[in-house]
Amino acid sequence: MHELSIAISMIDQIAEESASRGGLDVEAVHLRLGVFAGVDKNALLFAYELACEGTPLQGSRLIIETVPLLVYCPVCRQERTPPSVYQICCPECLAPTPEILTGREMEVASLEVAA
């Protein structure tokens, strides 16, 4: 369960962003989370609520956008979605591909703040 550590890093990160913008009243946090980021979505939602307690983010909502796995197929020369997270190959020509384009993201995309 490292989602609590991740949630704490996230809150620190948001506090920094907020401070650099003169202090924000954050109501919701939009996170982009890749399926290959090594983080469980539900565990993170749970950990976020816990980690927010007693911080300025208490009561804020976490909204997670899942970023799918995309690879580059060197044979088809195209972006492809592999058949699954444990079959990292092209779904059309079945060529294995070590090149992952998206899916590892763990990024606070935006904040919804009181206007």
């Binding site: 550590s5 109501e27 980021a37 983080v39 990292i88 294995p96 904040l111 703040v113």
Partner: protein, 231 residues
């Protein structure tokens, strides 16, 4: 009440990744090849490292950091091969992070260290998100834990550079299907280098030593382990 959206695009792991980058630059300057080891608890990381350290210590400067939730047992085992060993006890934390590595290395001079090994806490999930500044990540999988581990933990296998199948001396007793295991690793991380070893008999260790020594000849890289870690 109305709200407005503020774009931030901030990487959650930014603090860790910045520290990892600084560590990687330091390792490069000192010309130290740093290798992280991850696996389930009990897959044989410490046993493998004991063999590796003992084998390399004759000709090279070696050091190791070893992470566990509790006890200094693993460090004591590794100290038989080299005095340059430090235990990192993480308490309840299920992974190492870059700040723990930085703290553990305080006061250490890496000038004469060719290889630094970092044994992570036994866990195939949590360590995958944390760049430790290592140059290569080895993932270990023992012949006694089933062929489908790579399929069940694709993230850590995909984020590793080398797979080591350990306890090969027990493969027959465990009816381990080596071909399937290799196919599963290849499926999750195409092109991954795979070694089959036994830390008990020494089987396969020669190839590991050749691979490690070949790393020294390569220029040290400061490229982050994962694409996403780039800031």
């Amino acid at each position: 009440m109305s709200t407005r959206m503020v774009e931030v695009r901030a990487k959650v792991m930014k603090q860790n990744d910045l520290l990892a980058r600084a560590l990687r630059e330091r390792f490069q300057q000192q010309n130290t090849c740093v290798i992280g080891l991850v696996s389930s608890p009990g897959s044989g990381k410490t046993a493998f490292l004991e063999k590796v350290l003992a084998g390399l210590a004759r000709d090279h400067g070696v050091a190791a950091l070893v992470g566990d939730l509790a006890t200094e047992n693993d460090a004591a085992r590794l100290q038989r091969a080299t005095p340059n060993v430090k235990q990192i006890t993480t308490g309840t934390i299920c992974h190492l992070d870059a700040s723990m590595i930085e703290r553990a290395l305080e006061g250490w001079h890496l000038d004469n260290v060719d290889f630094l090994f970092i044994e992570n806490v036994g866990n195939l999930v949590c360590p995958s998100s944390y760049d430790l500044g290592e140059e290569l990540r080895f993932v270990l999988l023992s012949a006694t834990e089933g062929e489908d581990k790579p399929l069940k933990y694709p993230t850590i296998f995909n984020s590793s550079d080398v797979a080591i199948i350990t306890k090969m001396d027990m493969a027959d007793a465990a009816e381990f299907d080596l071909a399937t295991a290799r196919r599963n690793i290849e499926s999750v991380r195409p092109g991954m280098k795979i070694f089959e070893v036994s830390s008990k008999t020494g089987q396969g260790m020669g190839e590991v030593f050749n691979f490690l020594r070949a790393q020294l000849a390569r220029p040290r890289t400061t490229a982050p382990l994962l694409e996403e870690a780039a800031l």
